[in-house]
């Protein structure tokens, strides 16, 4: 393995008395799609913005493409592309004008017509920014991030708030970036996004990386357990479900009991018997194979979207 293209070493950032980052470290190889997965407020955006050169870390070191993002100015910006958590442009700027405008700031430029076609914006090329849908605006933001054919692309929650169809379109675009061997740092709080797109994932919580590895490695930490989510008519007494056969772990989140079971069939039979004995009713029961959500629950005791 060569020198990492992105390196974050012990990044610390405080906003007044709030510690946003408490020593975030990771390294990303060239051509990797790397995910920062965590709930809102975990420190994902702060980390990315330090790496983009938009914020200054209080302590620690950041290096991207061998440069210090904060100190390297234009030379650094020529090498990166980024989609901010929320992109805004003047309402009366046309789609093709936005791409052409940003392309003109760079030495290396991608053909703007090609970008319009690739991001399915050619039919909207003369539309004003204010006339675009949320998905179209996000596709434009992605196109603008690629106007300089960057080596490294930062995507800060690129699919947040978009409907599932648009989200899938954006997944396809990110998969294309991977095929082009671009290094992508993606932040998300969507489990499926991290699992589908990322070669490696760092799970972030309260300004710290609490787990790091490939999605398979991370899920391996929950190996052998199946997640069973049940909703009941009445709440159960403390510990009643945790003692069911096969249950390794049981937590309750807003009325939903999440059981991690090593022997799901036996757990379900025991659950039904227990409910009958207590004259309780089962409203719903769903089973899931281990996911990054389970890893997060095991590590933090909370769900990602809490």
């Amino acid at each position: 393995m060569g020198e990492p293209i992105i390196q974050a070493e012990n990044l610390v950032k405080n906003y007044g008395t709030v510690a946003a980052l408490r020593g975030v470290s990771f390294a990303i190889e060239e051509g990797e799609v790397f995910g920062l997965l965590g709930p809102n407020g975990a420190g994902k955006t702060t980390t990315v913005e330090i790496l983009e050169g938009m914020r200054t870390a209080d302590a620690g070191r950041a290096h991207v493409c061998g440069l210090d993002p904060e100190k390297s100015g234009s030379a650094y910006k020529e090498r990166i592309g980024a989609v901010l958590q929320s992109t805004s442009l003047p309402d009366k700027l046309r789609v093709h004008e936005a791409i052409e405008l940003f392309a003109q700031f760079y030495r290396q430029r991608t053909d703007t017509d090609q970008l319009l076609r690739r991001f399915q914006l050619d039919e909207k090329r003369d539309a004003f920014y204010s006339q675009l849908s949320g998905g179209q605006k996000q596709r434009l933001a992605l196109a603008m991030a690629l106007v300089n054919d960057p080596r490294v692309v930062f995507l800060d929650e690129p699919t947040a708030g978009l409907d599932p169809q648009v989200r899938r379109e954006i997944y396809t675009i990110i998969e294309e970036m991977r095929r082009e061997r671009k290094t992508v740092l993606l932040t998300t709080h969507y489990i499926e996004e991290a699992e589908r797109l990322c070669d490696r994932v760092a799970i972030v919580d309260y300004g710290r990386v609490i787990a790091l590895g490939t999605p398979r490695e991370l899920k391996g930490k929950s190996a052998g357990t199946t997640r069973i989510e049940v909703r009941l008519a009445r709440p159960m007494t403390d510990g009643a479900l945790a003692n069911l056969e096969g249950v390794a772990d049981c937590r309750e989140f807003s009325g939903t009991y999440i059981l991690h079971s090593r022997r799901p069939p036996q757990t379900i039979v025991a659950l039904v018997k227990r409910l009958e004995a207590e004259e309780n009713e089962l409203h719903s029961l769903e089973m899931f194979s281990p996911s990054l959500e389970d890893v997060f629950i095991e590590l933090t005791g909370r769900r990602l979207r809490d």
Binding site: E52, S74, L84, S86, S88, K92, F102, F105
Partner: protein, 302 residues
């Protein structure tokens, strides 16, 4: 063409002009309103008197040029609050081209307005002279850049649109009433006339009025131009230093102290003008001519 600060400034200038052309409010404030002033005040006040038409033209030109102050500060704060500047920050683009393009696009858009105002006075109100066009062009050029740069300082030192509007109103009132742009300085008590020499707008207003009423040459308005030119340099550098891309980045208290430094050149010019008395004499001479024309046109006393 490889990008550099100059090409980036020009790229942004073109886009800014394009955006302004798509904005109806721009046409209202930059063309309709100044023309409305001309069409209202020239028939009401000038009543065909040549010196008065020229004087009102000077005042309306001053208002058009000073308008740069309002427009640019509001636009910059809007862009910052909406997060538009953040996106530009990701590009290899410094604060300099961002600010310079505001000033340049504003200047290029003022020129047609100025031309229309002069043409209307000449063709509709039958003003016999063009004024000194060379002096007018230089004053409009330096004036628009100076007032745009003052506006950018306000944008860089205020945190919200509400604060920007409040400070703009305050400063604008000073510019409007203490410069001779709305009321001739000569009618004020002497101490206000002396204070006026510390107000940047005075140099624009008296310069433009001299160029329209007395056909003042470039040499005769050189001091006005020098004051505005120094104002541009100081104000531009201060606004560049205080520039903020981020909506949540608040202006530190010391920024407001820095902003006051933009007034230092006018403090120096004010002291000089008060000591020399030349400007005071010029203002009174110009006003005497206006009053003389008024008396000539007044009905005889019974």
């Amino acid at each position: 063409m490889m990008p550099n600060p100059l090409t980036n400034t020009w790229t942004l200038t073109v886009v800014r002009i394009r955006l302004a052309m798509r904005n109806r409010a721009f046409f209202f404030f930059s063309l309709v309103m100044p023309l409305a002033f001309l069409f209202f005040f020239v028939p009401v006040l000038a009543k065909g008197r040549q010196q008065w038409i020229a004087y009102i033209l000077g005042a309306v030109l001053t208002l058009s040029v000073m308008g740069s102050f309002w427009g640019l500060s509001v636009q910059l704060v809007t862009f910052r609050e909406q997060g538009i500047l953040r996106r530009f920050r990701l590009a290899p683009l410094g604060a300099g081209p961002m600010l310079a393009s505001s000033i340049l696009s504003n200047y290029l858009m003022i020129l047609p307005t100025v031309a229309v105002e002069i043409l209307v006075c000449r063709w509709v109100f039958h003003m016999r002279t063009w004024g000194n066009l060379w002096a007018l062009l230089v004053l409009v050029t330096f004036g628009s850049a100076a007032f745009a740069a003052f506006g950018l300082i306000v944008a860089s030192t205020t945190n919200t649109m509400q604060e920007t509007q409040m400070i703009n109103n305050l400063i604008w009132s000073g510019f409007l009433f203490l410069s001779g742009a709305s009321v001739p300085l000569a009618v004020f008590p002497p101490w206000i006339q002396r204070v006026a020499f510390f107000v940047p707008a005075t140099y624009l207003a008296t310069g433009l009025e001299s160029a329209t009423t007395n056909l003042a040459t470039f040499g005769e308005v050189a001091e006005d131009v020098a004051a505005l030119a120094i104002g541009i340099l100081v104000a531009f550098e201060i606004s560049r230093q205080l520039f903020r891309w981020e909506p949540e980045a608040k202006a530190p208290a010391r920024a407001k102290v820095w902003a006051l430094a933009a007034l230092v050149p006018f403090l120096a010019f004010g002291i000089y003008e008060n000591a020399s008395g030349k400007r005071m004499a010029r203002i009174h001479h110009d006003f005497a001519q206006l009053s003389g024309e008024m008396q000539k046109a007044a009905p005889p006393a019974r």
